[in-house]
């Protein structure tokens, strides 16, 4: 639906100025001895009113333009390709541990002697994510890294280099606590104020080890639904973690005592997989325990995000002031033409001295005849 709005409606108070030309026709008036009983041609009768209307319209158009008219663009349904992907990268201490099956010869790897076997989870994730980003040229990426608090590393933008650099710089560091829910919140905020033109995906790369509080669950659920974001969790499985499908407790990858289990279950939220399944938005989990598995997971992600997404696009408001000023300009030019055609003097006045010469000229003409 399009309708007219004004950026500065107060300017419309100047509109009565448009009545001014109706009261006063600016054409120069000259005295004439007698105009009684003149039969005027049609244009002499129509022109004054045309001029008044023109001047009035010019004024009205100018005032309207100054009030800044615009029309709402309306909403259009479009089909979007590509996806907006926010990578939420867990860089907690546990991510530096080796990937399942590659967790040997760690000391050698850290000493730089061998890189044959050991591959940390974060390194594997980083390498594969970079490749993924390079393949997906049509997508927009943003990066949030988190351990004990989320870091706004690269906002959602077309600046690919920034996102890649952000990924490369994400180093694992243990600070003892994993702020998963806040990281997800920050990732969701990336979508704030952006037109929904593509599939929105939050790609969570994490090995679990985080607790989502009950109140955070509600907030996250609302936010996910509000922004319409799909969540994909790439669960990086190390040597010691359990499969998420076996209702693994997030934040519990070391010793599971009966008490811990009871405590976690009493919170109902400890199970990340459970929580994410209940978000009300499409959710997929990929359990990855090798680099190849990573690739397969990402292929699945790209498959899921390749589908065109229908979205409602709010057309930008259309500024009508420019057109108004253009019309004003055209009308002002017409008025300028009228002004230029307007007589400034009916006839040049002859001074007494000139009159003398006229008389003398007349006399000499008489003398000749």
């Amino acid at each position: 639906m399009t309708s007219l709005h004004f950026a500065q409606p107060a300017m419309l108070w100047a509109m009565p100025l448009a009545l001014l030309p109706l009261m006063y026709l600016g054409v120069r008036s000259f005295e004439f001895p007698n105009t009684q009983g003149w039969k005027l041609p049609w244009h002499a009768r129509v022109m004054p009113w045309l001029l008044r209307m023109l001047a009035s319209a010019t004024m009205a158009c100018l005032v309207l333009s100054m009030a800044g008219p615009y029309s709402e663009g309306g909403i259009e349904t479009r089909i979007g390709k590509g996806a907006e992907i926010v990578i939420v990268l867990d860089r907690s201490g546990s991510m530096s541990e080796g990937l399942k099956g590659r967790d040997v010869n760690r000391q050698d790897a850290e000493a730089g002697v061998s890189d044959d076997h050991f591959l940390s989870k974060i390194e594997a994730a980083r390498a594969v994510l970079l490749k993924f980003m390079q393949q997906r040229s049509g997508d927009t990426f943003g990066v949030v890294a988190f351990n004990s608090s989320p870091i706004n590393v690269a906002p959602l933008s077309a600046d690919r280099e920034l996102a890649e650099a952000a990924l490369l710089s994400a180093q694992s560091q243990s600070t003892g606590f994993t702020a998963l829910s806040r990281a997800l919140g920050m990732a969701l905020e990336y979508f704030e104020g952006r037109p929904k033109t593509a599939t929105r995906v939050i790609l969570l790369v994490s090995d679990g080890d985080a607790i989502i509080e009950a109140e955070d669950q509600a907030i996250l659920r609302d936010a996910f639904q509000h922004y319409g974001v799909q969540l994909m969790w790439i669960y990086v499985q190390g040597e010691r973690e359990h499969s998420i499908l076996d209702t693994v407790l997030a934040g519990d990858n070391e010793m599971i005592t009966q008490e811990d289990k009871a405590f976690a279950q009493s919170k109902q939220s400890a199970n990340m997989h459970q929580v994410f399944s209940e978000l009300g938005m499409p959710y997929q989990a990929f359990e990855v325990n090798s680099e190849i598995g990573f690739r397969q997971a990402l292929q699945a992600v790209s498959k899921a995000t390749n589908q065109p997404s229908r979205y409602e696009y709010r057309l930008p408001r259309q500024d009508l002031a420019g057109a108004g000023y253009l019309m004003t300009l055209i009308m002002v030019m017409a008025l300028a033409w009228v002004r230029q055609k307007m007589l400034t003097a009916w006839v040049p006045f002859v001074s007494a001295r000139q009159a003398e010469s006229v008389v003398k000229g007349g006399r000499s003409a008489l003398a000749k005849s």
Partner: protein, 304 residues
């Protein structure tokens, strides 16, 4: 040659608001086709007996005992031996009176300032009248007679000065010249030369009524016309023309056709005046540019 005969009189009007008023050279020499009555000696051959150059009759000595005019032949021829004297037609002075319309259109300023043109006409007429020994008077009227611009017909040596002094009081206004009727009872009984100065944008009854009331005088209508009214109209452009008498505004988009229409209108107006005047044996004189005394003299020469 006296000062009032001179071509121009510099400094004559110094100090008066009409200082820059242009004084045209020359006099108007009016020749009349009729014999004026009256006993005041002047220049026009009249109908009463007196000093003149046209023989009127030969009369007995007792009737006109002037030995200078003794007709020797007639006296010798008379068997009764009476003395006879030649009697001539008196060269008579006549009253010259200017009736000036002062309705608003007489203040029109086109190429020429009409007020100045009228002042020139009056000045020249006053000088010409004095040079011929004639009385000069003037009446200015619109709806009523202007009391301060009224000069009774007398032989005024200083009439041009009087005009120069009083002319700043001439403020044309109103849309009628009906007041000219009011001066008719005050005009001389004997036939006089009347100059009716106006642009004659008059209703027909006023023109015909005035002609009828003035029918025992010799009326010379001096019609004022400005080049800005007819000949020198602009050929293109927009303008509004305001009727000075009625205040109506007319929008005109000047082009060749409109120009011609306006010229035709002016010519029609002149034709109208000429035709109406002809009914009373009157011929109007058009002053289309500035006033030229010689043209008026020519008019008198052509008239009969």
């Amino acid at each position: 040659m006296r000062w009032w005969h001179k071509e121009s009189a510099p400094g004559l009007f110094k100090g008066s608001p009409a200082t820059h008023m242009h004084l045209p050279s020359g006099l108007v020499h009016y020749r009349l086709g009729w014999k004026p009555r009256g006993n005041q000696a002047g220049l026009v051959s009249g109908s009463s007996a007196g000093m003149g150059d046209t023989l009127r009759a030969v009369v007995p000595w007792l009737e006109y005992p002037d030995p200078r005019r003794l007709d020797v032949r007639a006296t010798l021829r008379d068997p009764f031996e009476k003395l006879w004297v030649r009697d001539f037609k008196l060269d008579t002075a006549i009253p010259v009176i200017a009736l000036v319309d002062s309705s608003a259109s007489m203040g029109y300023q086109g190429v020429y300032d009409r007020k100045q043109v009228i002042a020139r006409i009056l000045t020249v007429l006053a000088r010409s009248a004095y040079a011929a020994g004639d009385a000069f008077g003037m009446v200015v009227a619109n709806a009523d007679i202007h009391p301060k611009l009224r000069l009774p017909p007398k032989i005024h040596r200083s009439a041009p000065l009087w005009i120069a002094k009083h002319w700043p009081l001439f403020h044309p206004e109103g849309n009628t010249a009906q007041g000219l009727y009011r001066c008719i009872p005050t005009l001389p009984k004997r036939k006089s030369l009347l100059f009716l100065i106006s642009d004659f944008h008059w209703p027909e009854p006023l023109l015909l009524g005035l002609y009828k009331s003035l029918s025992h005088h010799d009326v010379v209508p001096l019609m004022l016309r400005d080049p800005a009214e007819s000949e020198k109209l602009p050929s293109s452009g927009f303008a509004q023309l305001q009727d000075v008498e009625r205040g109506d505004r007319v929008f005109v988009w000047m082009n060749h056709r409109v120009q011609q229409q306006m010229q035709h209108r002016a010519n029609d107006h002149l034709a109208w005046l000429t035709e109406r005047s002809k009914r009373f044996g009157i011929v109007p004189h058009v002053i289309a540019d500035d006033f030229n005394p010689q043209a008026l003299t020519q008019y008198f020469l052509k008239r009969q």
